[in-house]
Amino acid sequence: MRISLQHQSRRLLALTVAVAVSAVSVWADITVSFSKIPLSRAMREVERVSELRFFYKSTLPGLDRPVSVSVKNATERQVLDRMFAGSKLDYRLGANNNVAVFEKGTEPPKDVTAAAREGGVKETFTVNGRVTDENDEPLIGASVRVKGNPSNGVATDVDGNYTLNNVAKGDVLEFTYVGYTPASVKVTHGGAYDYRMNAADNVLNEVVIVGYGSQKKVNLTGAVSVVKAKDVNGRPTGNAATALQGADPALNLSMGSGGPNAGASINIRGVASINGGSPLVLVDGVEMDLTRVNANDIESVSILKDASAAAIYGAKASAGVVLVTTKSGELDATPKVSADLKAGWRRQTVSTDFVTSGFWSTYINDQANLNHGGNPYTNYDEYDYAEMWMRLGQTTESAERPWAIPTSDKHWRYYANHDWYSHYYRKSRPMQDYNVSITGGSKRVNYYVSGRAYFEDGVMNIDNDKYKSYSMRAKLDIKVTDWLKYRVNTSFFESTYERSGSSDLNDFFYRSANHALASFPSTNPDGTSLWDISGIITVGTAKVSDGYNALLNYGKHKNKDQNREFMVKNAIEITPVSWWTINADYAYLYRNLNREMRRVPVPYSNTDGIVGWIDGAADSMCWDMFTRGMTNNTTQTINAYTTVSPSFGDHNLKVTAGFNGEIYRHLYFKGERQDLMSPDVNSLNIATGEVKDFKDEINNSVTYGYFARVNYDYAGKYLLELSGRYDGSSRFAKNHRWGFFPSASAGWRFSEENFFEPVRDWWSNGKIRLSYGSLGNQQVGYYDYIQKITTNQLMDNLTFDGTTYVPYASVSAPPASDLTWEKVITYNAGLDLSFLNSRLNFTGDMYIRDTKDMLTSGADLTAVYGASVPKANCADLRTKGWELAVSWNDDFKLLGSTFRYSVGAGIGDYSSKITKFDNSNYKIGSHYVGERLGEIWGYTIDGLFSSDEEAAEYMKHIDGSTYVYSDIYTQGPYRGLHAGDVRYVDVDGNGEITPGEGTVKKPGDMRVIGNSTPRYNYNFRGSIEWKGIDISAFFQGIGKCDWYPGNEARTFWGPYCRPYNAYLPADFLSNVWNEDNPDAYFPRLRSYEAYGSKNSMGAGPNTRYLQSLAYLRLKNLTVGYTLPVLKQYFQELRLYFSGENLCYWSPLKKHCKTIDPETATNSGKKTNDALTYGFSKSFSFGVNIVF
């Protein structure tokens, strides 16, 4: 079935591409209608709608004879026969669609084309000229063609020159060039027709894609940002999501990790609800995942930020909308083949300089553990330390000084200098990215076909993880008749990610560094792997790398994730009259995820000559088991809407109304069974043991919406937009399914007023925008309104027969009967300004967003209720924010060539506050009224004790023994506080360091010490182009964000959390307090101080170790050079270097260079511990070829 589906989807895609290409070449049907017009005019009409070209003498009789023809999809001859029926004239159809017209009874020309040239049937000329830009620079590759005769066209050469033959008097020359306003010139004579083209006025004439249509940017009344193709195309990133990061200050896009197949977390203007919620991402009108989109296919991205702009999307748009529009072909465009080929490598963004000395690794951890509980971590004595000291500085094992020695009882003793980081991770890995696209169009059909292959090696060193993805897109627009257009858009995406290790990659990042001192090698001299060294090397229990070392060395654990996504969209557009269009489309999106996981028992040894096995009982990663999980999602989207846009003098009206329906179906199947007959064959068919898990899950949801939007403007001066949507969702009970969400916005282009005349020379545009809108948030569970029974669950460790686990069922919490939409109400005020002929542009927005009726646990119920509190719509949130963006574009002459440059910057901020929540006691840890989202409550530390005497004096007055100092008071050789320990401030002056009653009103010594919400999201970019050289740089950052490292943030805390961590920063000891280093950042070395809740740094956040995650990152730097050679073969040949995430500056680096500020809060296992797939910087070299 899997193979069949794959083949079917590929076949369908291939068929679509084939249709797209073949349709262009074979189209010949003519649809034309005219009545009683002179034959000469009739010929022009036919020329306009077909490829036919008529040649005749103007002195022929009967050219003014009235003719009538009305045909639909007729052949050329059918049309010609009708035109000349009963006429004194006849025709002969020759090559190249040339039609010679001659008088009946005379000799017809044998060679129509020759006759046309020779016979003076129609006066033609040769025209030539030079096409330049405003600065008289030649435009290379500009298209010059005769209007209505696309076959008669050329592209300008390297000097901007062109020559066109067979141009008749009265013909119109059309000049087109990307980025310039198209122009046309009527031919009156042969000879020179030079033309200077004007750059398109990108700001005032820019058209922005909005919901179910497009609008001129100057007429927008909602808050909409646009990211252009040039800002995302060509970036050396795996997908569109990473390319869009930081592109707009309102778009907060963070990757879950730096992994090749990581998902993206997106929000616009912050979270819209405490329950989360993501913006609606539509790719060509279909809801899709940005990580599955090829950034090179993107034409533009519109970010609809306020409710007014997003209202037309209703139920799913409460968190904003991201509209991605992919590229399309152009009518009457010569075919263009573009290739963007690049290869490069990736490296970690952070320092990987860790302690690799066995001596120091063991010494630091032993000392930390000794100071905490009185015992070192290892049982190494002074002789063992001498052995490690003698091997200090040896990066490889030598025959004279081996790293593992058998003891008299045949256990291994280890004295290695093992670099565990390099053992597990690659510091440099290759990537390749190949993009090809073909685009073009004829009079009736245009097409865009693209394909991409992307390969990336992952960071894992052993049995390297590999990611590869393939994507294709084919778009075909057919002008069936003058009033009917048909569009088909297909896309296909497939990715495969293969890796060794356990199924849970985050578990690897979380556990593999445990019990992995640099003094432990990976393998024993006999090749067996290290695992259980409890009591042999260590005082307590220790399994080297928590089993990952042995597991990866054995290499039988295999994991494979395969994503496939196929989309086909068919659309028609009917234009009965010029001001009325009717659109309908149907899209089918199929997504499939196939996940395979193979686990096996793993061999290890701690004794020379004896091999043991790690099995499932010892570690659940090592069951002999195979798991297959398959997810199939289908989404069907139907849109039908109509737009009328009549104008009455200066009154312009545009009304859009329609229906949107979405049917979603989710199917998940999982099978997991033990005891396979071979460790090398991965299939459920050869499993003979216990079925561990068997799941069959189906979810459906349906959303229907009726929407309408009215745009009105008076002379482009006063702008008004009203829209509303009536939405129904199957996620709510029958009586609560439907909601109406209205919005209104208005704009005033004061720059169009008469009083503006005196400043119009330098002030190009000015507009004030105001909007209000209400949206629904349906992002709740599929069946939250129903109480559910979960069956087919197995009791852990409970059997009746000793082998089969006991099944059981459980009931979910009772639902609230009136569960319904969360409502998001947004007020927005904006200002758009353009100066100096739109070279300087400014946009600013301020907003308030109220989220009402958020779904959360309702009021506490008495214990006799017997179930958890049902969720209800009972919390409110208010978000306030603002955004500013400014840009400058200009060019000037430098050494005879045009120097183009642009700079731009944007910044945005928001803050969210709870305005309603059922927490009457104001308990900290739950939301409460007045809470700013992201608040970090913590204690205050004002330094380290400088002497034992000072610490003793402190203890006389302050009792911290029950909370922050509990362990220090009760454990280890240095009980009680000493010099170098942290000094907490008794904020409430009650002689204790406690959290009080844990409420806002009685927080003890805790206060709000920071906030984890990223604030002041900013970016700035600049670019220059000169003499074929182009340089662009894009910086992005966060101005404020606090982070308290979680108790597993091991590369930050080192042994202050766990005293057996592999990755100690190389400069760790220089930051640790001792008598010689009293100003150190970290306190007296004691293990677990940052780990346990009764310890000085683990009891909760504190001011001393609160970190700032503010950063500025050079997100992209591209340097390219367009070679001025081989113009006869290539329209463009450009070589370039592109670097992504090249460097960053952050206050975090002061005390931690090993954690990227963007991954600090990420983790697959626990929060705030940065134990996840790290971010990468990439360096790539590429070539752009266009021909």
Partner: protein, 138 residues
């Protein structure tokens, strides 16, 4: 001309100032200096089963910020033998450190080592490793 001369002399002064500064060693912390290892009895070739002692003299003291130091003797064939332990010894009043008796058990070119761990403040610990190769025959 005057201006050129001024620039020339200025450059010269800068160069003379910068080069010595960049070459200067401001690291005042240093480990002690030692003589070569003396093996007693002194022979050109030793036999397996011979018993020797090694000694070494401190020729210059460590810098004043020395916190602690430990020294030991070791032989190259001990590295692979967990039964052979470092022979920790201290310097006597004459500044001489002498090993325990070492029985030569392996033929070939073997090395007798003097190791030291010299501890300065703030975990600035430095390694001393001095070896003497001797020939041992069956």
């Amino acid at each position: 001309m005057f201006k050129t001369k001024c620039i020339y002399y200025l450059m010269l002064v800068l160069l003379l100032g910068v080069v010595p500064a960049s070459c200067s060693d401001d690291d005042s912390t240093h480990v002690p200096s030692f003589s070569v290892i003396k093996v007693t009895p002194e022979k050109d070739v030793y036999k397996v089963g011979d018993v020797v002692r090694c000694s070494i003299s401190q020729t210059a003291p460590a810098s004043e910020d020395l916190r602690d130091a430990s020294y030991w003797w070791y032989a190259s064939w001990w590295f692979a033998d967990s039964e052979m332990k470092a022979d920790f010894q201290e310097f006597d009043a004459d500044g001489v450190n002498t090993s325990s008796e070492i029985t030569l058990t392996q033929a070939g070119d073997v090395t007798l080592y003097f190791f030291g761990r010299v501890e300065f403040p703030n975990y600035d610990w430095r390694k001393v490793e001095i070896g003497k190769k001797i020939k041992v025959v069956e």
